[in-house]
């Protein structure tokens, strides 16, 4: 067991205190308006550069007559729209079946005569 005067323990304690202080300082820093403004500018610039790179890449792919990201996304959106419609049809069918079942079991409802 290390003694209270162990230099390693002392160094570890000093380190932890420094780290805590640095953590608090960094949280204050990211909470400042100046940081927020720099973050917004940086985000805007990085997005603009990325968009340029994406557009250039897409242009190359399309000129090679290959399906690009936009083409695949268009197909994906069509599939999603079809799934939306199917879901709504399924819900209508389920509602109709539930309505039929409720009508069949309603009290006082006459059973259809067998022919």
């Amino acid at each position: 067991m290390a003694s209270a005067s162990d230099p390693l323990d002392f160094a570890a304690r000093i380190y932890r205190e420094s780290e805590s202080a640095l953590a608090a300082l960094s949280e204050q820093l990211v909470g400042r308006d100046a940081f927020a403004e720099v973050l917004a500018w940086t985000t805007e610039n990085v997005m603009a550069l990325t968009r340029l790179a994406f557009d250039a890449g897409d242009l190359v792919v399309r000129n090679l007559r290959l399906a690009g990201r936009a083409d695949i996304n268009r197909l994906g959106r069509q599939l999603a729209r079809t799934e939306d419609k199917l879901e709504r049809v399924l819900q209508e069918v389920e509602a109709l079946r539930a309505g039929q079942a409720a009508a069949a079991t309603a009290p006082g409802e006459a059973e259809p005569a067998a022919s």
Partner: protein, 348 residues
Amino acid sequence: MNPAGQLTRLGTAAVEFANIILTTPDASIGASARDVVWTHRNTTLYRYRSALRRHPVPILLVFALINRPAIFDLQPGNSFVEFLLGQGFDVFLVDWGEPDEADADMGLEAFVLDELHWAIRETELASGVDELSVVGWCIGGTLAAMYAALEGEAVRNLVLLTTPIDVAGSRYARWVARESFDPAGITATYPTVPGPLIDVANRLLKPVTNYWSTYRRLWEDVAAGRDRRAAYQAMAKWVGDNPGFPGRAFREWITWMYKDNALIRGEIRLRGRRVDLAAIDQNLLVITAGADHIAPREGTVPLLHLVGSADVTHFDRPGGHIGLMIGSNAREGLWPDIAAWLARRSTR
């Protein structure tokens, strides 16, 4: 220990530390047995069956659009789902899946009025009841609150965990509410905002803690021979698993919640219907965390005075935005309290 022994121990610890970091993606999380009840686009409704079911009102768990709902079922022995099953609840969970660019057109209305609405309908069909409890966490709580305000007939009990409602004054608001931050510029480049991009922003809220202290603490534990592999890897894997945020929902979230602070003002409209928090009349449990820097307590508490519910309860507990629901404190404190609150309100 002699210097040679110390050096050997240090080398072993370094290899073990590297191994823990490198094998984190292999960790198993969200492993409780479950059935798929319903799917639509990326959304999946799961059901966890309880062998001890004794409460007739099922629970539907709704997590945020960022990160994955596996946090509800982190690992055996540290799983809220497992705990609820043990308490006799029938548990369902909505997983929003991994949206890609084809889902960029999904706005908040699609999540609230389609995906969540339909998931609730399917929960009713699967469990054979016409009422349920909804537990929403973070953005999932906000979506659940919007749903309860608009279509809440099927919701008997509403539990909101660390849910942003009035975001004015939060650190996020300071970053994104300013005019120079343009969410449309981001979604013009990334129609669905990549999860890692949002993760960087989340980590930047506490840069030293997230980028350094976490690893320093792990190193100290490994060097001291304390076994934290399973706990660290489960949490690190969950934190690093970030699905994309559909562009339209992202723009609406940033603009409505942070730039306009429109939810608390009752100015959000979904498909033309105003989201009026006063229309929430379910039994309501609001849970806030004392050290929450993402959805600070001050941003959630105003809800308590706005809703129309006759039965309103507020738990304010120590912990952070996620830490509140993880670990032994949650297992022995908050989870039993939530289960007891729900059990009293889940009778026929």
